[in-house]
């Protein structure tokens, strides 16, 4: 398929207001095609609002969203979506649910759907309302995947699953990611597990995008600095201080770097993704600087 844009999903100044409250505002990011991206943020950060606008369930109040360069409502056949709590028609059997998928989609891989369900041991003749939560989530994912979408959007796919079902679900997703045919964006307020599956990150908090970029790049460019006390002035190699924790005798920083850290006064350690995410979520109330780390490692602060 030839696309005029390298981006599977692209938003520009996207915003949505409910009454007087902005659920999402000034949201601009791009997800390159082929990525498995995580959309993380606390409950109420605007993740669902963003996803609903990306699948054409909700019209933006301002700004725009593009799926492979076109409005979402024109990209329905290319977009797979699993809504939060994976809604299904509860009186339909599994087989009827698949039949619905086949009837409502131009592209439909019936073999893939049946093979997946067989492998998962989900019986075709059972009403979906009688399946376990994990099975329902898997069926919803199967429905979205059999559509053979180029972009797959999943809203909190693991939130309602027990640990075992969550592991199975993420494994299935990791397989999709490895094939590299599909761009995936999944939202989650649980940061653990995501690193194994995702290679791209969007941090959303307080209705604003806090950080987007390649996960390896993000981890590489964020460091924790520690020193007995903080000397005034800029620190060489530091683009921004994300989090600062200071006592009279000790200062700890979590920083984003833009060059080598040569200042010998600081002890430099690596940080994990979860810590970085938490640092960004923690600062979101006071500082709304938006950070974009492109896949080439170039940094832009807006």
């Amino acid at each position: 398929m030839t696309d005029t844009t390298p981006y599977a999903l692209e938003t520009d100044g996207l915003g949505r207001r409910y009454g007087k409250t902005w659920a999402l505002r000034d949201c601009s990011f791009q997800i390159p095609a082929g990525r498995v991206a995580a959309l993380v943020g606390p409950n109420g950060a605007g993740k669902t609002t963003l996803l609903h606008m990306a699948v054409g369930l909700l019209a933006p109040t301002e700004g725009s969203v593009r799926v492979f360069g076109v409005p979402p409502q024109n990209a329905r056949p290319r977009t797979g979506f699993v809504a939060q709590d994976h809604p299904l028609y509860r009186t339909f059997t599994v087989a009827e649910t698949l039949l619905m998928g086949r009837k409502l989609n131009h592209h439909w891989d019936n073999t893939l759907a049946h093979a997946r369900l067989l492998r998962l041991g989900i019986p075709l003749d059972r009403p979906t309302g009688k399946l376990s939560g994990g099975q329902q989530a898997q069926l919803a994912l199967t429905l979205a995947m059999a559509k053979q979408p180029d972009l797959l959007l999943l809203d909190e796919p693991v939130a309602s699953l027990d640990p075992l079902a969550r592991r199975d679900f993420l494994r299935a997703l990791a397989e999709v990611g490895e094939e590299g045919q599909m761009t995936v964006l999944l939202s989650s307020h649980i940061i653990a597990d995501l690193e194994q599956v995702c290679d791209y990150l969007i941090i959303l908090s307080a209705a604003h995008v806090q950080l987007t970029g390649d996960i390896a790049e993000i981890v590489r460019t964020h460091k924790r600095l520690a020193a007995p006390h903080r000397a005034p002035g800029a620190i060489s190699g530091v683009a921004a201080i994300v989090e600062e924790y200071a006592t009279p005798r000790h200062t700890q920083l979590l920083v984003r770097t833009n060059g080598p850290l040569t200042d010998p006064g600081w002890e430099v350690t690596d940080v994990g993704l979860e810590e970085i995410v938490l640092a960004y979520l923690g600062q979101s109330g006071s500082n709304r600087a938006e950070h974009v780390i492109s896949t080439t490692g170039m940094e832009v602060s807006r």
């Binding site: 809504a83 299904l88 028609y89």
Partner: protein, 324 residues
């Protein structure tokens, strides 16, 4: 999409079919009994030859025995409201409540098309059922009641011609629109029922009597007692009200008339009418004549079709713009 519509609404469509079948059997059974009685009691002869003796008694007895079916049939006026509540109101509201609109509207089909196909199929089912019931009731009326009461009285008018179709289409659309706007099935059902009555009752009781200015027919009361009384312009009309007037055309209160012509013990209807006649008073009837049937049906159906179109436009606009 046709499959999905059938799968989701097959229970409703089967119930509609069963209701039509049961009512059909009832209409055929009672209709044949009515037709037989109409002939055997000699009601038909009386209408053809009003001068036959005992015709007043014959017609009265027929009405006493078979009028109850007509009275019972007026409950069918609520059928469209029930359809709107049970099929229309949950159509979108139930999806919104359960979140399944997020499933079905993110397949390859657009919400607008989803709605269009569902509407088309449910409208077709509704109109088919209504056409069958209207045909059955028209036949049911034709074997006896149209000869006695014409087509214009509400008991006939409401179940013949275009109006039943228009009410069914309106009620279904009202239910769907209420479901879309309220987003919750049970409140939408209640609003549908209330909304249907809020249109239905004023249309019949306030607007229909005034669609065109009603006519007034004035007659000497003694002519009512004549066997040829049925041959007046009132025949087959919708009689709205009756009263008394003096020779100069001034209306008289009933109480004034009865005070002057007190029907004391032992006095008959004939004594009363003779007294009224002797005073020179006349009986007037305000009525909508029989020949306005199709005009009124057309106007009333047009009003309902306009309301239906407005509700449809609102529903389609909302689904396409607000959601998608």
């Amino acid at each position: 999409m046709i499959w999905l519509t059938w799968r989701q609404h097959r229970a409703a469509i089967v119930v509609i079919a069963v209701v039509v079948a049961v009512l059909g059997v009832l209409f055929i059974v009672t209709g044949r009994a009515t037709a037989d009685a109409f002939q055997q009691l000699g009601v038909g002869d009386c209408l053809a030859h009003p001068t036959h003796p005992n015709c007043g008694t014959i017609i009265g007895s027929f009405r006493d025995q078979y009028g109850m079916y007509v009275a019972a049939s007026t409950w069918l006026n609520l059928l469209p409201a029930i359809l709107g509540m049970l099929v229309g109101a949950p159509l979108v509201a139930r999806e919104l409540e359960l979140g399944t609109h997020r499933l079905v509207w993110t397949q390859s089909i657009s919400p607008g098309r989803w709605l269009a196909i569902k509407l088309a199929i449910l409208f077709a089912a509704t109109l088919a059922a209504t056409i069958i019931l209207t045909a059955l009731m028209s036949w049911w009326h034709s074997v006896a009641w149209n000869h006695l009461d014409g087509h214009m009285t509400p008991n006939m008018y409401d179940f013949e011609g275009l109006v039943p179709l228009a009410y069914a289409a309106f009620a279904l659309t009202l239910g769907i629109a209420a479901g879309v706007l309220i987003r919750r099935a049970i409140p939408a059902m209640l609003v549908t029922f209330a909304g249907f009555l809020a249109v239905r009752l004023p249309l019949e009781f306030l607007l229909r009597p005034r669609l065109l200015p009603p006519l007034t027919y004035t007659q000497d009361v003694l002519t009512i007692l004549s066997p040829l009384a049925g041959q007046t312009p009132l025949r087959g009309s919708w009689e709205l009200s009756q009263g008394w007037a003096d020779g100069a055309g001034r209306q008289l209160a009933d109480s004034a008339v009865f005070r002057a012509c007190d029907p004391g013990p032992g006095s008959t209807k004939i004594d009363l009418f003779q007294c009224i006649h002797n005073h020179g008073w006349l009986m007037y009837t305000i009525y909508q004549p029989a020949d306005r049937f199709w005009l009124f049906q057309g106007i009333e159906a047009a009003i309902l079709v306009a309301l239906t179109a407005a509700l449809l436009a609102l529903t389609i606009w909302w689904v396409r713009k607000r959601i998608a």
